[in-house]
């Protein structure tokens, strides 16, 4: 899997979305399971998968699918 595929899969798993859901449209609080609990689940999976540790500021700023890619870019994750 390339990084985009890994990223998309984490989004689906964290927020319990099926294959047909267009994850690129995701925003924080936009789907039921992307709440503060889902958010920390997602952060844990991203950190595990990409072997990074995010700053608290980045965790707070991680407000959408696109913004997330931009933030991960700071940690050397290329899409």
């Amino acid at each position: 899997m390339n990084n985009t595929e890994k990223y998309d899969q984490i989004m689906r798993e964290s927020f319990e979305l099926d294959e047909s859901f267009d994850v690129t449209t995701l925003v924080y609080q936009g789907v039921e399971k992307w709440d503060s609990v889902g958010h920390m689940t997602m952060v844990a999976m991203l950190e595990e998968t990409f072997d990074i540790m995010m700053d608290t500021d980045d965790i707070i700023d991680f407000s959408s699918y696109e913004k997330g890619k931009e933030i991960l870019g700071k940690y050397g994750i290329e899409f």
Binding site: Q29, S36, V37, A44, E47, M53, T56, I59
Partner: protein, 359 residues
Amino acid sequence: MMDTFFDKEPYELSREDKHKLLSSRLNALTKEHYVNCPQYKAMCDALGFVPEDDVPYEELPYLPVSLFKKLDLMSVPREEIFKTMTSSGTSGQAVSKIYLDRETSSLQQKTLVKIVSSFTGANRMPMIIIDCPSVVKNRAMFSARGAGILGFSMFGTKKIYALDDDMKLNLEELKGFLEEHKDEKILLFGFTFMIWQHFYKELLKIDSMTLDLSNAILIHGGGWKKLVSEQVSAEDFHKRLEEVCGLHDIHDYYGMVEQTGCIYMECECGHLHASNFSDIIIRDPADLSVCEFGKRGIIQVVSSLPQSYPGHSLLTEDEGTVLGEDDCPCGKKGKYFAVHGRLKNAEIRGCSDTYAAKF
């Protein structure tokens, strides 16, 4: 406007600068709530207060904190509310309902990070939550306990709950966790009474230092009422935790669900500190005038964060004393103070105390 707050270190401003900044923000909030929350306007009108020219924040109206149990107070359209926080009331007691929109919620989280990281450092740490996992299960309605845990989860990397859902200590898992992270600083978080009842008392039954937490920092809050009734002082709490597990970096905090985010952390001198984001004012129970430093009275709290509900200036049901301002030996600016507990006759409502009532 909040950028001015976030650009500064949380305990950087001395009296004059803080007073100016906070007054300007609190006057602006008063005006917004006056326009957008009809009940708030009615209360201001009843007090004869018209928000026009800016006044020092000591002169702004304050609502009794219990009002959030009786009324649904919000200053944004209901469809913009995406999270409701509740105080964890036991059956028969009304709970406070605090309505948050995205922006207020985000301000709360950012402020919490700003305040706490000035104690823990910017790095996140492996984290032990001294509670049970079920407390965060109901995702739509957060109790104060659940919200506290979620808010602080931000500081954790790998996380483990110290208790199972029957409130039993997961000793073997904790040992494994500490072994795995043995050279790292560990963050412990929990509610004061839970820590005492389900963590300390369990550790007391086994060999001391079975869990070595000498390289950990504990942040705890939620009230002392139950421990006071067991005659455990803050000093005992510190001393005895150190005896069983070597834990010595311990910080209490004072805060309430009605002003989430703006917590008052305890420094190494044992004093609770107001950050730039908020302040406390002590009022004389006889006439509600502002008390001088050193005098015991009712605690009023003001917070720069509440935008979606009129909770920026509240009279609590707690008693406290301001000990000083800008001159704590720890070096932090701002007021530092002590909390003595609930006022007599006030409803019992510390958040971990609610749980304690079951024991």
